[in-house]
Amino acid sequence: MAVATAASAGDAVVGAVTPLTGKLAVYGEGFQKAMNLALDEVNAEGGINGMPMKIVFEDNNSTSKGSVSAIQKLITIDKLPVIFGPAASSNFLAVCPIAQQNKTILIGAESAAADITKCGSYVFRVFPSDLLQGIGVAELAKSLGYKEVVLTYINNDWGVGLADVFKENFKKEGGKILDEFAHEEGKTDYRSEILRIKRINPKAIVNLTYIKEGATLLRQAYEANMSTQWLMGSASKSPKLVELAGGAAEGVIGTYPTFSQETPEYKHYKDAWDKKYPGGKTPIFGEYNYDMVKLTAKALKAAKSMSADDIREALIAESQGFVGVTGDKSFDANGDCGATYGRWTVKDGKIVDYK
């Protein structure tokens, strides 16, 4: 079996571009710990077919520039076939083309941007794409019994992409869109938009937007004496929404990507974490990092050789039906995986789970 040249013979080595310094360092440390936790388990179970697995961590100083130099080092000097990409979609997107051009596998555990789907055949992520929210909201509308809705979305790549996915899925389920239009980012006056909705007087409005825009829309709709059910995505799920919109946010229902904390996989992760890092809380996105390492190890074991192309094939095959802490991680043709959705609502000025 061929082995990555930079490693001592007999090691299965992968790289990781991780924010260990800079503004994301506070998260980066948690990512690293979660990856190491999974690594320990892999090696305790015999590593990669007898070879110990290793992760070479490169700091990116939390910047795109740092991410680019880090990945270039991992690809050209260490010659590693698999690299775990940096946190923050902008940093991840900065290194995507480099990985794709060099035919190196890049896997992300925290990057949600829809654009990552288009990064190329060597790029994967275990974190759900923002686009999936479109499906989540379509399911939400359907399950609440809304067959006819007005759709509005923020006028940028993210909003338009999300709206397209929503429309496709909502119509497939027999839903009807009474009216749809984009609203501009960052405006303070959406009264004309609201008037347009009011004229149709729908039972529900699907509003795929951010926090500020969402709050302004809710507020001005309330002032215009409108009372309809608002359905929203996860990007506006924030206490700031309630702070800005006040009572107008009451009763909004939305979706957000989540995973169950009741599964045996989660319980195992939590116990292992407490054992290895006693006294510490599990970090944000730690579960995704853990799943990423576990899934990669599974692929490395099954790969015909340590060449990136063989690992890539194995990664796609092995991911099918792989259930990690964060749920099913089966990769689709774009290297994206699915997501399960929770529901949030605003009750008495607080964001709570909708039941």
């Binding site: 609203h183 303070t188 009264r191 004309s192 938009e193 008037l195 919109a245």
Partner: protein, 290 residues
């Protein structure tokens, strides 16, 4: 039908505030012959200063916070003139224009530095609008139109029935001749900056009450005011007023015909068309506060 009436109503509310901004902008142009790009920042500062006096540690009631806020806005307006425009008074128009753009960046970023870029509100309670004949309007919106009427009415009296107002019009007609006639340029300058600052500040406060505060609010509204000024003919006070109303109504009624997302394009279209075809305004009068 109600739909179109409501659009018209919304347009009149927006238009009355644009008119307040445009009148100040055009008066400064009329007297000093340059478009003050930092005019928008007086709008934003007026709104943010209310926030300053309203929140801790001052904790004044909202109506009382308006007074010191407007005073400071006027001081900023006067300081603009004293420290930037006055030393440049005899330079070319381009110099003044560039200076005012620079000043607007400075003032806008000062807001970012002090209050941050995040959206803020006065945090007033939420109220349902008042409904009549299927139309709805909020108390704040009524106040916006009311304030515009009071302020512009005051301006009408000032310009037509007082010596100060008449001198102001004389100066904008011909500054040198007015100077020879013994009109105090200093006094006129002060009056213009005072009026422009108070109009901008008040409009800004009303806008913030109606919606919310963000550092870019000045710039967005400056574009509307600028379009209104061009529409009315630069320097023409009543032209600017009508221009402001027109832009507000056009923007809002336009929503019936194209996506509301593209509402802002109306004011830009007006700017381009006016500059191309009627650079002196639709009334075609050359210069002067009339």
């Amino acid at each position: 039908m109600t739909y179109y009436l409501q659009l018209l109503l919304n347009g009149m509310v927006a238009g009355s505030v644009y008119a307040m901004f445009a009148v100040g902008l055009t008066m400064v142009y009329g007297v000093f012959r340059f478009i003050n790009f930092a005019h928008g920042e007086l709008i934003a500062w007026g709104a943010y200063l209310v926030l300053l006096f309203y929140l801790e540690p001052c904790s004044l009631p909202l109506y009382a916070a308006v007074v010191p806020a407007l005073l400071v806005t006027v001081l900023i307006g006067l300081a603009q003139d004293r420290f930037v425009y006055k030393p440049l008074r005899h330079s070319s128009h381009i110099t003044l224009l560039i200076a005012s753009i620079g000043l607007s960046y400075l003032l806008r970023n000062a807001i970012r530095l002090i209050w941050g870029s995040d959206l803020m509100t006065y945090g007033l309670g939420l109220t349902r609008g008042i409904s009549f004949a299927g139309l709805s309007i909020t108390w704040i919106q009524i106040a916006m139109v009311g304030a515009a009427l009071v302020f512009l009415g005051f301006l009408y009296i000032l310009l037509n029935f007082t010596i100060l107002g008449k001198s102001l019009r004389a100066v904008s007609d011909n500054m040198d001749l007015a100077d020879i006639m013994g009109i105090s340029m200093k006094r006129i300058g002060l009056t213009v900056w005072l009026l422009a600052s108070v109009f901008a500040g008040t409009g800004g406060i009303l806008l913030a009450l109606d919606t919310n505060l963000e550092p870019m609010m000045g710039l967005t509204n400056l574009i509307k005011a600028f379009a209104a000024v061009l529409l009315g003919g630069a320097g023409n006070v009543w032209g600017a007023l009508l221009g402001g109303l027109f832009i507000g109504i056009a923007e809002n009624v336009g929503v019936a015909f194209f996506s509301p997302g593209y509402k802002d394009f109306i004011s830009f279209a007006v700017i381009i068309l006016m500059l191309l075809f009627r650079p002196r305004g639709i009334f075609g009068i050359a210069g002067g506060v009339r």
